[in-house]
């Protein structure tokens, strides 16, 4: 056990090539997922926050339901779509990093929609009338609200990234944990631990803890900065 700890640090210290490859793939997959999720989630969240349209209530229920979906269920869903007999089987995406990006995107989108909706709705209550006074179009209003909420929205993106990078069930199902192809930090930890190879698992665990710490520190710095510069201060 103590041996494993030392080996873990040795692995980290030696910048082991396998280790670096796994970390790199995890980061690439999760960053891509968050980026795509942001492109979908920010506009949709803002739209739901600022516009009344038929089906809006249903959309909110759907988003909340999706947010609560267990990652393995999302993994299963994507697996069924991408498997050879599934609707997207012809694309041959199963067991590729792209499949993992798809699964993580689906996990992150509902979070981003829900958080964006809340952030933009609060800002709209504060600024909406003034923006209408400025004579903005709907889209200009939404863009301005997103810009005004940039600090809080960045925190939401970090939360999405946290969920993506820490997730194991979905990427295991659609990625398959194939060495040098789809092995991520979390799937490697699961596999290595089950084989009793604790050193690599612990090294990756330490990296994940470090990333979680970094994400939280970034979120806190943003909030702190936002509080210091941006909090309404009226005398």
């Amino acid at each position: 056990m103590t041996d494993a700890v030392w080996q873990a640090f040795a692995l980290l210290g030696s910048l082991n090539a396998d280790l670096i490859e796994i970390i790199g793939l995890s980061l690439r997959v999760s960053l891509a997922a968050v980026l795509i999720a942001a492109l979908v989630g920010l506009p949709l969240g803002a739209l739901i926050a600022t516009r009344r349209f038929p089906g809006r209530g249903a959309a909110i229920v759907l988003v909340n339901t999706l947010m609560g979906l267990p990652p393995v269920v999302v993994g299963l869903m994507v697996y069924l779509w991408l498997s050879a007999s599934g609707p997207f089987g012809a694309l041959q995406l199963l067991y590729t990093p792209t499949a993992m990006i798809v699964a993580q995107t689906i996990l992150v989108v509902p979070i981003l929609i829900a958080l964006t909706r809340q952030i933009v709705a609060d800002l709209d209550a504060e600024l909406g009338e003034q923006l209408r006074i400025f004579g903005l179009t709907r889209w200009q209003q939404i863009l301005t609200l997103l810009h005004e909420g940039r600090a809080a929205l960045t925190t939401a993106l970090l939360a999405g990234f946290g969920r993506a990078i820490a997730e194991v069930g979905a990427v295991l199902i659609v990625g398959g944990n194939i060495n040098h192809v789809t092995r991520t930090m979390t799937t490697a930890i699961a596999l290595e631990t089950s084989k009793g190879e604790l050193a690599l698992a612990m090294a990756l665990g330490l990296v994940l803890i470090f990333i979680a710490g970094l994400v939280n520190a970034a979120a806190m710095a943003l909030r702190g900065g936002a509080d210091a510069q941006l909090a309404p201060g009226r005398s």
Partner: protein, 251 residues
């Protein structure tokens, strides 16, 4: 006649005169504006709306500005209903100023860019305006951190840099000290001399006497009096207005 040629063109860009015709606004089963009728003529000057708390002054001014759609009756700007494009020719200063999360300078630059200035030109123009109004010192300060008086002066400036045809103000000096109130009134007077029409709600009768060319007296959602300011203060026509001026109007 000239008018028939001019009208279709003018209607595009012109807001004044503003007319509210039998405006009714109901909320939660209460009639808040009760067939309020009012017209505000084209041209420079100050129309002051006064009346007891809860009379519907804020609602009336927001309806005239096109921010509230009446349940019955209609508002027209130069003969046609308010639209977003012409809303850009109006300004509105809220009782509690709403500042964007950026510096004082950038709050001005933001609206200038909406009206077609590029960033560089907007900055120069904005800085000049801040300097002209004694706000240069706070140009780089986050606008939401400014004092109430500074925010309100900035809100007024932000509305005025676009050179609107008409400016609505809802109790802009309600929470301000005398010096800030004076600064705001000076700023307004300068703009009126340059041709602005001001529609102002105030609780402050002294302010109403200082600024008003024309008084609108609102009572329980109805316009009870509208007329020349001196005349109104000298001899209010209704018992309600007399009681209000005497300070003993009980709702």
């Amino acid at each position: 006649m000239d008018q028939t040629v001019l009208r279709p063109i003018m209607r595009d860009v012109q807001v004044m005169p503003i007319a509210g015709d039998a405006l009714v606004v109901r909320r939660d089963g209460r009639t808040l504006l009760d067939r309020a009728a009012l017209s505000i003529a084209h041209g420079a000057g100050v129309t002051v709306i006064i009346g007891p708390n809860g009379a519907g002054k804020s609602l009336l001014i927001r309806t005239l500005a096109g921010l509230v759609v009446p349940d019955l009756g209609r508002v027209t700007w130069a003969g046609s209903p308010p639209d977003r494009r012409r809303a850009r020719r109006t300004g509105f200063v809220l009782q509690r100023p709403v500042m964007l999360r950026r510096t004082a300078l950038d709050n001005l630059v933001y609206v200038l860019k909406l009206h077609g200035h590029n960033d560089a030109a907007g900055r120069v123009v904005a800085m000049q305006h801040l300097a002209d109004h004694g706000l240069a010192r706070v140009a780089a300060t986050n606008a939401q951190r400014l004092s109430g008086g500074e925010q309100q002066r900035l809100a007024l400036l932000r509305a005025l840099v676009l050179e609107p045809e008409v400016l609505f103000l809802d109790e802009p000096a309600a929470n301000l000290d005398p010096a800030s109130t004076l600064a705001i009134e000076r700023q307004l007077n300068v703009a009126v001399e340059k041709g602005l029409r001001v529609v102002l709600v105030t609780q402050d009768l002294a302010q109403a006497r200082r600024l008003a060319d024309e008084i609108v007296f609102l009572h329980k959602g109805r316009v009870l009096e509208k007329g020349e300011a001196h005349e109104f203060f000298r001899a209010p026509a209704t018992a309600e207005a007399r009681a209000f001026l005497a300070g003993d109007l009980v709702l």
